[in-house]
Assembly symmetry: C2
Homo-oligomer: 423 residues x 2
């Protein structure tokens, strides 16, 4: 007897589905208000779409398998490779910039700990073909707008923003070899999960000297863009990446969201394909994992064999935000709602009851007809539990004079209403 | 370089996604108007949920695999087992009857022929816990209502309805052993795809004599419920199944959909769990595969270890109906639509352009802001292609007097409007 879903996956009973639809509805609403178009792709993709130079957690956690035809496939762990593949397939026929969104279910075969799941739904926003960091500001502003609409304000979340190009420039000033940078990013990304000791050990494992490791930790002490600028200027290093980062903040201020945002040199993201500005949203107290995150990826499309097109993306999962809303008591109630339950007094009244139900549906009402006779008292209790606003009782005496009894379930008031006037 | 989805699976570019959302939106609308509640389950389930006594096409086409933990899993081929599992898990705590719907993506590892796919989305409607065939009439009426809303009428489709209990009674009259009935159903289900010769051969393979096979073909010649009744009465056989089938038609007439519906003894459905009334919708000319189908299943929940609860279900795929709509020229156009494109004349106007965009969004408008400077002529052409109704141009001269130029993209009319009055 199997009663549960596979380990790490979720069933959505009606009240869970209502919550999901509420989130998805707001994601769609915000996406469309920013002019993004929805797209979708297969939940299963060729495994090679996800096999990259490695080191990334996501590749180690791939939910992969072989199909009956011997093809190596994987449940998608993220949407960006599908996006890249789809854009490459259309080539120059897609007008740029491309502003697309999607709400895919994504899978990771993780150790099951701390209530983590093996799937989540993830709102993806991507802007492809805009070199300017106006694109970063746009996706951050859209995510902030979504948070506003679900009831989170200034004191509930913060956006931490950095720039891989800036971090690379700073670390280069301190002597880090270019070819070590990607590995260092993957270690720094673990900063909130691991102790400094553990991070030092990991840096040692990728071949860094203890002195180099200390210099990296010094760079991670940088708190402001001004400090970062001083380090670069002192070393005579180029400051383009710094200026680019400053411009992200300027653009964010145009959207009125700069108050939520702060520079944090330790934000790098766990995916190797990011190349520029990167960001993560957290709840204000940082009690939860990241709400969402994203950044600039310049080379992903090229790496799949397409032309080089720069892009900015954001991924926003359904699990963490739901935990935060629940924690703050901000989850609305997701009760079942019906406009009418129509109750035939006996099978003799079924025809009229069904016709009445159909005419109410034609008026846009949500109507459930009692499909099998039961005691009136029981039928009314069931209708109440089903969230019915009104109940229409089709009974022989009233029907003889062309009427049905309409009961307001909130007040308990009952009226015999001409059958054509029920509404 | 991978540019396509896995074989048999679909990418949904924005215009495909708009079509999908249109279908799903109408499915949801109709489901809710009939008082169904949405639920959802995992796209991957334990393989054993689908392993049944066999013979069914669906089991042979299972998209199954082993995960890293050695678990046998499968991409769901249909939703009913998930529904059954979820209902069993909640036991008596779920108020009956249960009226649930879902729009899962389902997978079959089929031979790739005639443009068939390995996945489709399938609207599922199920009523659990209603013994009366009012439940069959309800799901059929809901599907008919959906077809009406997408623009199909009386001359576009027909519902073919039968009853496995009735067929069993008729075949028993003609000497068929009870234990051969399930196998015979699976052969009859192939009636539209195979020649009579092939069907005869298949019946031989399950151990039926040539005489028995001919008698089955005679039963399949029955055209009306009256004929069926005569056969049963002549044999002194019970006629409950006949009366039950008649009542389905009576109940359908209460919904005003009886004109679409006709008795067809050869409708059996390809799944072994059906036990009573079964039905399939086809386009009027039967040029396409079934639009949707379903029926009564009495024993599925019990077979998973739950209590015995009767249920009625309907599955309605997205592929065939889309083909039919396209064939009839009834597919609406799914163009991109934007209310506004906001164009800053240069980077100096970006702040105002962004603020204007945000204020239009706050008024519920879908707004795309030009994220990177381009020639005005090019920007206008892009806005037109993106389906913009209006364009707001934020240019220095007008801005100096607090105005922006609003262009109606349909008429080409341009006006300098005070910035707070753009709408």
């Amino acid at each position: 007897m199997i009663t549960g879903p596979p380990r790490g996956m979720r069933d959505f009973y009606p009240e869970d589905a209502r919550l999901k639809n509420w989130l998805f509805g707001l994601w769609r609403e915000v996406s469309e208000s920013f002019g993004f178009e929805e797209y979708d792709g297969p939940v299963v993709e060729a495994e090679e779409l996800y096999i990259r130079k490695s080191g990334e957690e996501i590749v180690g956690q791939l939910y992969n398998f072989e199909d009956k035809g011997g093809r190596r496939l994987a449940l998608r762990p993220e949407m960006t490779p599908t996006l890249a593949r789809m854009i490459i397939a259309k080539g120059a026929s897609l007008p740029r910039p491309i502003k697309w969104f999607s709400i895919p279910q994504c899978f990771r075969y993780e150790r099951m700990s701390r209530g983590r799941k093996r799937e989540h739904y993830q709102w993806n926003l991507d802007i492809v073909g805009v070199e300017d960091v106006t694109a970063e500001a746009e996706v951050i502003a859209a995510a902030a707008e979504f948070l506003r609409r679900i009831g989170l304000g200034k004191d509930d979340f913060r956006v931490f923003l950095s720039n891989r190009r800036l971090l690379a420039a700073l670390l280069k000033c301190r002597g880090l070899a270019d070819d070590k940078f990607a590995g260092v990013c993957l270690v720094i990304d673990k900063k909130t999960k691991e102790t400094d000791e553990a991070l030092r050990a990991m840096m040692g494992e990728i071949g860094l000297s203890p002195e180099m490791v200390e210099r990296i930790f010094e760079v991670l002490q940088i708190r402001t863009l001004e400090e970062a600028e001083r380090v670069l200027l002192d070393a005579g290093a180029p400051i383009e990446a710094l200026q680019e980062t400053r411009r992200v903040f300027d653009c964010l201020s145009f959207y009125g969201v700069e108050d939520f945002c702060q520079f944090d040199i330790s934000i790098v993201r766990g995916l190797l394909y990011y190349t520029g500005p990167v960001f993560e949203f957290y709840d204000f107290e940082r009690k939860f994992r990241a709400i969402c995150g994203g950044g600039r990826y310049d080379n992903l499309l090229e790496s799949y064999g397409g032309e080089r097109i720069t892009a900015v993306g954001l991924g926003f999962g359904d699990v963490v935000i739901t935990e935060i809303l629940a924690d703050k008591g901000l989850l609305p109630s997701f009760e079942r709602k019906l406009d009418f339950v129509v109750i035939p007094f006996s099978e003799n009244e079924r025809k009229v009851a069904t016709e009445l139900s159909q005419s109410l549906r034609a008026k846009g009402k949500r109507v459930s007809t009692l499909l099998e006779a039961k005691k009136l008292r029981k039928a009314l209790a069931d209708a109440d539990r089903a969230g019915a606003e009104k109940v229409a009782i089709v009974a022989p005496d009233e029907l003889a004079v062309g009427r049905v009894v309409v009961r307001d379930m909130l007040t308990g008031e009952e009226n015999a209403v001409p059958i054509g006037e029920v509404c």
